[in-house]
């Protein structure tokens, strides 16, 4: 059924945030969101009128998956400003958490961001990613453990050693 354009527009900031977290790159992320919106509009007849956020995020996770696979890339959080400008976060903390995030596998980042940042339920996330709910839980647990290790272990910004 037809999608309410205004409702779709209200989802865009969150779609961009998710794609940004997945790719680590502003322009690639926005390309993916644009692609997602085109697909949503072209396929709106398939929308059943329930849970638009879930439906659109499912499209986005598929776009992200196929794009990232096709270029075989890990996110490159080269500059923090590439993710987002402003905000209250301390820059060093922001660099550290994003660097740690980029070290997670795509499989771990997806359910982790969908639940912890985008606020989807475990059930919705399992449906979106088309995996059992137990798999979602264990991937999130692995993501959390890996993040903790990275944040506690390695120095946040590698120090240049001067001889």
């Amino acid at each position: 059924m037809p999608i309410d354009r205004r409702e779709l527009e209200r989802l865009i900031p969150a779609l961009r945030r998710y794609a940004r977290g997945m790719t680590g790159d502003r322009s690639s992320a926005d390309d993916m969101v644009q692609d997602c919106l085109v697909r949503a509009l072209d396929n709106e007849r398939q929308f059943r009128g329930e849970n638009l956020p879930g439906w659109v995020f499912t499209i986005l996770t598929n776009v992200v998956r196929s794009k990232m696979r096709s270029v075989r890339r890990q996110p490159q959080f080269s500059e923090v400003t590439d993710i987002a400008v402003g905000g209250d976060a301390d820059p060093a903390t922001r660099i550290a958490i994003l660097a740690a995030l980029s070290g997670l596998s795509e499989e771990q980042r997806q359910p982790f961001l969908l639940t912890a940042v985008e606020g989807f339920s475990y059930r919705e996330t399992a449906d979106m990613l088309d995996v059992p709910i137990g798999t979602v839980m264990s991937r999130i647990a692995r993501a959390r453990v890996a993040l903790s290790e990275r944040l506690d272990g390695a120095p946040v910004v590698p120090l240049r050693r001067i001889k």
């Binding site: 354009r5 945030r17 919106l37 085109v38 396929n43 987002a84 839980m137 959390r144």
Partner: protein, 259 residues
């Protein structure tokens, strides 16, 4: 059952950190954490991860909507245009060229409704894809023209019918490449061409879905014009800068090469 007797799993820690547990389960986990400081430290660290991650990513939410996304959402329904004389003349010529103009005598109203519907879908989807990908600087195409053979065979395979990349050098256009897209859940191909002045044209091709052949129809969306038609088991939409004569010439050239 006392909370402390409940078996606590890793999933409980995750759900606890995410604040997704039911009150009874939450109480059970709290009892456990009170007795296991290491686990409590882990879960607290997980909560601060979430806070730090949100603080790092949330500023994205405040960014202005990119113009391309706004344009996509506000793109008006195409303005329906009546047939222009040159287009009618050209399609008559094509009809005769096809041998008898059988399709102009189409009297099956159901078939006509199906054609209008499918043609409309193809024109709109072609336009959206045009608008989206011609604006791309870094990734205008998925497979570039230097792999034309691969491009054509890949798209033909996915679309399910022979997709050809017409040679438009006579019109001053060179093939940039193409990509695969969905239209109503079906695969569609987009081929992109570029003129010396940087103008981009796209040819959108997908299955006609049983719709009978048509002649050329014209639609326009702002500065973009589109000729679309159905031929055999494929439907086509040519989008480009709205110069009708030039678009007609290109559409005719395409038609000559693919039929």
């Amino acid at each position: 059952m006392s909370g402390a007797e409940r078996k606590i799993t890793e999933a409980d820690f995750v759900a606890f950190a995410d604040e997704r547990l039911e009150p009874a389960d939450r109480a059970a986990v709290e009892v456990w954490l009170a007795e296991h400081p290491d686990d409590r430290k882990t879960v607290e660290a997980w909560r601060s991860q979430t806070a730090a991650l949100r603080a790092a990513l949330d500023p994205t939410l405040a960014e202005p909507l990119p113009a391309a996304m706004a344009a996509l959402l506000s793109s008006p329904a195409p303005r329906r245009r009546s047939w222009s004389m040159p287009a009618l003349a050209a399609s008559l010529a094509l009809a005769i060229g096809l041998g008898g103009g059988v399709f102009l005598g189409q009297s099956d109203w159901l078939g006509q409704a199906r054609t209008a519907d499918r043609g409309d879908i193809i024109a709109k989807a072609g336009y959206r894809a045009h608008k989206m990908y011609t604006a791309e600087v870094r990734h205008p195409v998925e497979v570039a023209a230097n792999e034309e053979d691969h491009l054509v065979s890949w798209l033909s395979k996915r679309v399910g019918a022979p997709v050809k990349a017409p040679d438009l050098s006579a019109q001053g256009l060179k093939l940039l490449g193409g990509r695969l897209l969905p239209v109503e859940g079906d695969p569609a191909a987009q081929l992109m061409y570029e003129g010396a002045n940087g103008d981009r044209y796209t040819l959108f091709v997908t299955k006609s879905d049983g719709a009978p052949p048509t002649a050329f129809h014209f639609e326009e969306w702002g500065a973009i014009g589109c000729y679309y038609w159905i031929d055999g088991n494929l439907g086509y939409a040519l989008n480009g800068p709205k110069d009708r004569d030039k678009l007609m010439a290109i559409a005719t050239r395409i038609y000559e090469q693919i039929s």
